[in-house]
């Protein structure tokens, strides 16, 4: 298999530092309380959004099958989408890697002599680190979703895919605004903060010559780009500037327009407990002759970045069913405690642990699939029924599978393999296959248990070392049975 991740994403290094990141963030009490509060809020909201368990279950099954059908037809739907978009005057571009996507976007902007970009929320553009790429080319790139704006001012990355700035509380935001916004009147009142942000960003919408957005659903049948949002910044970015560039992953395409309502309903309810978002924006064309506003040019960039690798494996393919609602994060005990930045990847939490290995390779992400208690909460809340815990187990296997073993399923296969660990399990397997070896090992373990080391690396940093018992379970049961027999005989 030829891998095309030629140059590493900047997230590869931060993902590799996972353990250090966790140690850092677990010790930050303010951060932990911010996440705890936000996750409790989002879990509550979701819970109250469904009329009955029955409705939720029927919808989940329906939406799972919709996404599976669309994936089964993916290449054909992409071609149909392209045809219909081009017929509507929307240009379609394809990119295998993040660099290709960035090059395409930079060139489209240069062609229009654009210098100022406003961005709607797009996780795929985070994936490509588009802001960095454009800024290096002297194009100002401003995030306009309130959460993304805060994160950008703080020179950070989103810590949640739906609520990018949940790691910050209002005091921290007030300080950030005070440091960055000229003429800011200090306040920790959320309304006041939002109004001041609004003023700054409205000026930018008015002046920007390029708008960049993501896509929630791309409808093949009609050639329509759908955006889900509450703030109106998505509408601003896709309506006011002269040039609109949308970027999305190839898995976002759906076949029919009628596939959209059930998916939309599950998306907003799973994400924030809303029956629907404030705005559902459906774009099918650039400005037509006679129309007074809207961009003169609309472009769509379709990005692969590892998705086709997941697509090639029946089990891992389910990863692509994801509609990016964030419910798995909200319900994840690990995410709630370590927060979104510790993962070091664009997509944090359970979904991040599933998709990042395809984007960055298992070399950089080998720790991620192990950062799960396998409690199953993510799988239970997933609106499209992705068996997340099962896929995490599978990724753990891929990361320790010998490199030589065919077929090679993914980039970085075997990156987490340690010869010591492999040897231990080999010996363990041999011992458990032979009754004689097993009995012998038990004899040794019970007698030489005092030789067990007191320190066992990471395990004993917060736990006491395990110590084998003086007698085996078999021995104890046997002794008990003999005792019972004896007392029976005595009585008899």
């Amino acid at each position: 298999m030829k891998h095309i991740i030629e140059e590493e994403s900047k997230y590869a290094a931060s993902a590799k530092a996972f353990r250090a990141n966790v140690a850092r963030d677990l010790g930050n009490e303010e951060l932990r309380s911010n996440f705890r509060g936000a996750m409790d809020y989002l879990m509550d909201k979701r819970k109250s959004a469904f009329s009955s368990e029955d409705e939720l279950e029927v919808l989940r099954e329906q939406c799972k099958l919709i996404k599976q059908r669309c994936l089964a037809k993916l290449p054909h739907l992409l071609e149909q989408l392209e045809g219909n978009l081009e017929r509507n005057g929307i240009k379609v571009h394809w990119a295998e890697t993040i660099t290709e996507a960035n090059e395409i976007i930079a060139q489209l902007i240069a062609d229009k002599k654009g210098s100022s970009v406003v961005k709607g929320k797009s996780m795929v553009s985070e994936e490509t680190a588009l802001n960095d790429y454009l800024e290096e080319r002297n194009v100002e790139c401003l995030e306009s979703d309130m959460g993304e704006y805060i994160v950008q001012l703080a020179k950070e990355h989103p810590s949640h895919i739906i609520m990018p700035a949940i790691h910050q509380n209002k005091k921290q935001v007030a300080k950030l605004f005070a440091d960055n916004i000229e003429g800011f009147e200090y306040s920790t009142d959320v309304d006041t903060l939002i109004q001041q942000g609004r003023e700054v960003l409205r000026n930018k919408f008015c002046q920007a010559d390029v708008g960049i957005s993501g896509v929630n659903f791309a409808v093949a049948e009609t050639g329509t780009l759908c955006l889900v949002e509450n703030e109106g910044n998505g509408r601003m970015c896709t309506t006011i500037p002269d040039l609109h560039i949308a970027i999305t992953g190839i898995e976002k395409v759906v076949e029919h327009l009628s596939d959209v309502p059930p998916l939309l309903s599950l998306l907003t309810r799973s994400a924030t407990g809303q029956a629907i978002s404030t705005y559902f924006n459906m774009i099918s064309s650039a400005r037509k002759p006679g129309e007074k506003d809207g961009p003169q040019e609309v472009h769509l960039v379709l990005l692969d970045n590892g998705r086709s690798q997941a697509f090639a494996d029946e089990e891992l393919k389910q990863t692509l069913q994801c509609i990016r609602c964030g419910a798995c994060m909200n319900h994840c005990p690990v995410y709630t405690r370590i927060g979104g930045h510790a993962y070091g990847t664009v997509y944090p939490g359970p979904i991040g642990k599933m998709v990042s290995p395809h984007m960055l390779g298992l070399e950089a992400t080998t720790n991620l699939p192990t950062a799960s208690t396998l409690c199953g909460a993510c799988g239970e809340v997933c609106p499209v029924k992705i068996p997340i815990p099962k896929i995490l187990l599978r990724l753990r296997q891929e990361s320790v599978k010998p490199k030589s073993q065919q077929p090679e399923v993914m980039k970085g296969q075997g990156a987490g393999r340690s010869s010591v660990e492999a040897l231990i399990w080999k010996v363990w397997a041999q011992v458990h296959k032979s009754p004689t070896m097993y009995a012998l090992s038990m004899w040794g373990l019970t007698r030489f248990r005092f030789l067990m080391p007191k320190k066992l690396g990471g395990w004993t940093s917060v736990r006491t070392a395990p110590k084998p018992a003086a007698t085996t379970l078999h021995q104890r049961v046997k002794a008990k049975q003999e005792k019972a027999k004896q007392s029976q005989q005595e009585r008899g």
Binding site: N34, L42, E55, V58, Q62, L65, Q68, A72, L74, P75, L78, W94, E96, E100, E103, Q107, L108, D111, D145, G147, I150, M163, P164, A165, I166, V173, V190, L193, I194, Q195, R198, R202, N203, F205, T222, N230, E231, G232, R235, I240, D242, L257, P262, S265, A275, I276, T278, Y279, N281, M282, I283, S284, S285, A286, G290, E291, D293, D304, S308, F311
Partner: protein, 228 residues
Amino acid sequence: MTNTKADIKAVSKTARGNILAKLKAEVSGADYDKLPEEVPFNYPEFSREENLAQFISELEKNHAQVIKTTKANMASVISEQLKALNITKLLYGENDEHSEVIAALDSKIDLQTYDFSIDNNKERLFNECPAALSSSRCSIAATGSIVLWPDENEPRSLSLVPPVHFVIVDANELYADFTSLIKAQQWQDKLPTNVVLVSGPSKTADIQQTLAYGAHGPKALIVLLINI
């Protein structure tokens, strides 16, 4: 910058070929007639009154103001609302189908027609238009959503940029849910440049999960509900 237009065209072409080839190799021979049946949830049928009540309640939950009125009274309702908000200007669409409403508005209101291209008028649109009036195509009861169908007369930004948005909603054009609406009107056959479902004023909970209204779009959504 080192790339040229030709380069990105070539990049895209190669990428397209590679991506589609990889995906097609995986689905070759797939039998699409054998896909499992997708069963939707059977929502109960509601009466017109129940749908209307649901529509209003969802909108109000989302901080929209719903005013039940008639076509004859609408002008005075809008005039009063503008007065209460201390706004003296109103932007509306050219060739407005509600021209008699516009004509009957309080004469003190400075009427602005959206008869200009946005290209050289962005400053004006953003800074000099405090309120707008638009029509709607239809609406959705289940989620309290209003369907805007912008066109040459009522541009997309009419309902987006001015901080107060008045929207006329006809109760006779209320559908139970999004699915039944798309089906009834066969949207898949012809969609315009842009369709927007609006379910309240612009909002955000991005700072400490605290709801704030008027993030970027209208701070107030005033629904003028007629033909109840």
